[in-house]
Amino acid sequence: MMNDRLRAVSGQIIAVAVALIMGAIIILMVGESPVRVFMTLLRGAFGDQAKIAGTLLQTTPILICGVAACVGLRGGMFNVGIEGQLFLGGFAAAWVGFAFPLPAGIHMLAALALAVVAGAAWVAIPAYFRARYNTNEVVSTILSNYVAVLLTSYFTIFLFKRPGGWSETPPILPTAYLPGIFDFSRLNWGLVIGLVLAIGAALVFRYTSWGYGVTMVGSAPKFAEYGGVNVKWQGFVVLLLSGAVGGLAGGVETLGVHHRFMEGFAPGFGFDGLIAALLANGSPVATIFTALFFGALRNGSLLLEVDTGASREIITVIQALIILSVSAQALVRRRGDSQAGERRWKF
C-alpha cells in the first residue's frame, strides 16, 4: 500500500521533471536562458516574505478549484466548467456584497452562500443532462464557460457598473470582507477554507459510505450499480457539488482579494485547478501540494515578465507539458492490453 503510493508519487515527480526539461528546451527556442527563467520563477515565488504570501494568495483559488475538480474526477465526471462557475460565484458574492447591507459576519457568509448556489446552479443543466441522457459533460461544461464569462461581463458593464470606474462593479461593503491573515499581504482566510475543504473532502472519500460509493462509481460504474448505488443520481450530485465548490472559489476570490467584481477577474484559475487535481490523481490532499506548486509558478511568472523577456504564459506551457507527461505514464501501467479492450482509463 505504502509502496504503491510511493511509486505513484515518484512517477508524478519524474513526469514533472521530464516536463521541466521539455520546458527548458522550449525556453531555449524562445531565446531565453532556462536557468535564468527558472531562477527568476523561484525568486518570484519564494524570494521574500511578501513573495511567499503572494504565492499562497495565488494558491488559494487554485486549491479550491482543484478540490472542485477532485470531487468530479472521483465520481468519474470531468467538470471542465469550473472556470465558469468561478466567474458566476465571484459575481454573485460581489452582488450580495455591494447591494445588501447586512451585519458583519452574516454578510460575508450570505455572500459566500450565494456564490456556492450560483456555482451549483450554473452546472445544474449540464449535470442534469449528463445524468439523465448521458450528454457529454466535458463539452457542455466547456461551452458554458464562454457563456458564463460573457454573461458576468454583461452584468458588470451594463447592469451594475461603478459610475466613472473601469469595467467593475461598485466595491463591496467592508462587512462582507474575508479577513486577511497578515497586514502586509492580501492573503486571507480563503486559504484556510481551501485547506479545510481539501482535508474534509479526503475524509469524506475515505470514511463515509457515500464517499466510497462516489469513488466506486468513478472507477467501476457497473460494479457500483450492482452494489446498489444509484449511479445517475450520484453523478448529478457529484457534478452539482463540484460546481458548488467552484462557485465558492469565485466568492473567496471576490471577498478576500478584489473586494469587487471585475471583468476577467480570475483568468485561468479554474483550469489551473483542474490541472492541479489531475496531477494529484484526484486526491484532495495531494491537490494541496500541486496547487501550491502551480501557485508558485503563477506568482513567480509575475517577476518573469519584469526581469526577463519571456512571457508569463511560458508557465502555461510548462503546466500543459506536465499533464502530457503524466498522462503518458499510462503506458507503463497498461502495457500489453489489447487496443480493442474496454476504453476505461485512469487519468
Binding site: I26, V30, G31, E32, F78, V80, I125, F129, Y133, N134, T135, N136, V138, V139, S140, I142, L143, S144, Y146, V147, L150, L151, S153, Y154, I157, F158, F271, L274, I275, L278, G309, A310, S311, E313, I314, I315, T316, V317, Q319, A320, L321, I323, L324, S327, A328, A330, L331, R334, D337, S338, Q339, A340, R343, W345, K346, F347
Partner: protein, 328 residues
C-alpha cells in the same frame, strides 16, 4: 419587418457561408477521429496552432499558400502528439486533448511575445492574406446573388467540397471502411487483422490536416490577423456537433450551417446596437441547446437499448427455470 429585411438578406447568407467554413473544416477533421472511435477534444488547440503558424509562415515566406502549409504542419504536429499519447501510450483522450489545448494557447502567446514583442494580436507586419476567388461569369449569371458562390477565399470552397468527398470516402473507400469498423466494432477490426493503431493514427493525422486548414482560414482568410485564443471555442462547438451528428458528413454540414448562421447573425445583431456581450453568447447558447435537445431526442434509443438488455436478462432468468421454454 423592415428590421428583419435588414437582418436577413443575401449578405447574411454569404456571411453565414464565410463563418461556417472554419467550423465546418474543423468538424469534418473531427469526423475522422469520431468515426475511428476517438473523442478528440483537442480540435480547438490544433486549430489555434494552425492559425498562428499560418500567420507566421505567411510573414516569413511572403506567400499565403506557404503560410497555409505552415499552419497545417503545426496542426499536424499537434495531431501527431495527440495520436502518440492516446493511441500508443493509451492515455486518457480528454486529459491529453485539454492539455494540448492549453499548450497551444500558452505556446502561441509566448511565441508571439518572443518574436513580435507584443501581446494580444499580430496585425500587419507583412501578413499575406489569401486571395478571394472571383468565379468568372458568376455576376452575369446570378446578378446580386453572385456573392453566394463567388468572392470567397479558396479554403471556403475546399470546406464545402470536402463534404461530398467525405461521404464518398466513408462509403466507397477501403480506408473509410476501416476507420468505421475500428470505431464501431474494434473487436471485429482486430479479428479481421486491421491494425487499429495504424488506422487511428491515420484518422488523427487526417483530422490535424483539416483542423490546420480551418485555423489558417481563421487568420489568413476570414480576417488577416492573429489574436490570442482566436479560435474562441469553435473547436469545442465542432466537438458538440460531432457528438450529435456521430461524425456523418452531411449531418456535420447541417450542424455547422446552424452555427455559422448563429455566428453571422450575432455579428449582425451587434451592428444594431444590442449589447455585444449578450450577442456574443448566441453561438455558444445555440451549441448547448442543440447538444441538450438532441441528446433528449436520442432518449428513445437509450430506452430501447435498456429494454432490450432487460429482456435478454429476463429471458436468461426464465431459461434457468426447469421446464420453461425459451421465449422467442
Amino acid at each position: 419587418m423592415e428590421i428583419l429585411d435588414k437582418l436577413v438578406n443575401v449578405a447574411l447568407i454569404a456571411a453565414t457561408l464565410r463563418t461556417t467554413a472554419p467550423i465546418l473544416l474543423v468538424a469534418l477533421g473531427g469526423s475522422f477521429t469520431t468515426k475511428a472511435g476517438i473523442f478528440n477534444i483537442g480540435l480547438e488547440g490544433q486549430m489555434l496552432a494552425g492559425a498562428f503558424f499560418a500567420v507566421l509562415g505567411s510573414i516569413w515566406t511572403g506567400s499565403a499558400l506557404l503560410g497555409v502549409a505552415c499552419g497545417v504542419a503545426a496542426a499536424l504536429a499537434f495531431a501527431l502528439v495527440f495520436a502518440v499519447l492516446v493511441v500508443s501510450f493509451r492515455a486518457n483522450e480528454v486529459v491529453v486533448g485539454l492539455a494540448l489545448n492549453i499548450l497551444a494557447g500558452g505556446m502561441t502567446i509566448s511565441l508571439m511575445k518572443a518574436i513580435f514583442g507584443t501581446r494580444g494580436s499580430i496585425v500587419g507586419q507583412g501578413i499575406v492574406g489569401l486571395p478571394k476567388v472571383q468565379l468568372p461569369g458568376a455576376r452575369d449569371l446570378l446578378g446580386s446573388w453572385a456573392s453566394l458562390i463567388s468572392g470567397f477565399t479558396p479554403i471556403v470552397y475546399v470546406a464545402f467540397i470536402a463534404v461530398p468527398l467525405l461521404v464518398l470516402f466513408y462509403n466507397s473507400t477501403r480506408l473509410g471502411l476501416y476507420i468505421r469498423v475500428v470505431g464501431e466494432k474494434p473487436e471485429a477490426a482486430e479479428a479481421l487483422g486491421i491494425s487499429i493503431t495504424r488506422v487511428r493514427y491515420i484518422a488523427s493525422l487526417l483530422c490535424g490536416l483539416l483542423a490546420g486548414l480551418a485555423g489558417a482560414h481563421l487568420s489568413l482568410g476570414y480576417i488577416t490577423m492573429f489574436t490570442e485564443n482566436m479560435s474562441s471555442g469553435r473547436g469545442f462547438m465542432a466537438v458538440a456537433i460531432l457528438i450529435f451528428s456521430n461524425g456523418d458528413p452531411l449531418k456535420v454540414l447541417a450542424g455547422c450551417l446552424l452555427f455559422g448562421f448563429a455566428d453571422a447573425f450575432s455579428l449582425r445583431l451587434q451592428t444594431f446596437g444590442y449589447p455585444s456581450y449578450l450577442v456574443l453568447t448566441v453561438p455558444y447558447v445555440v451549441a448547448l441547446t442543440a447538444l441538450f435537445a438532441l441528446s433528449y431526442r436520442a432518449r428513445p434509443k437509450i430506452i430501447m437499448e435498456t429494454l432490450a438488455s432487460m429482456q435478454k436478462l429476463l429471458s436468461a432468468d426464465k431459461s434457468t427455470e426447469p421446464g420453461s421454454k425459451h421465449p422467442s
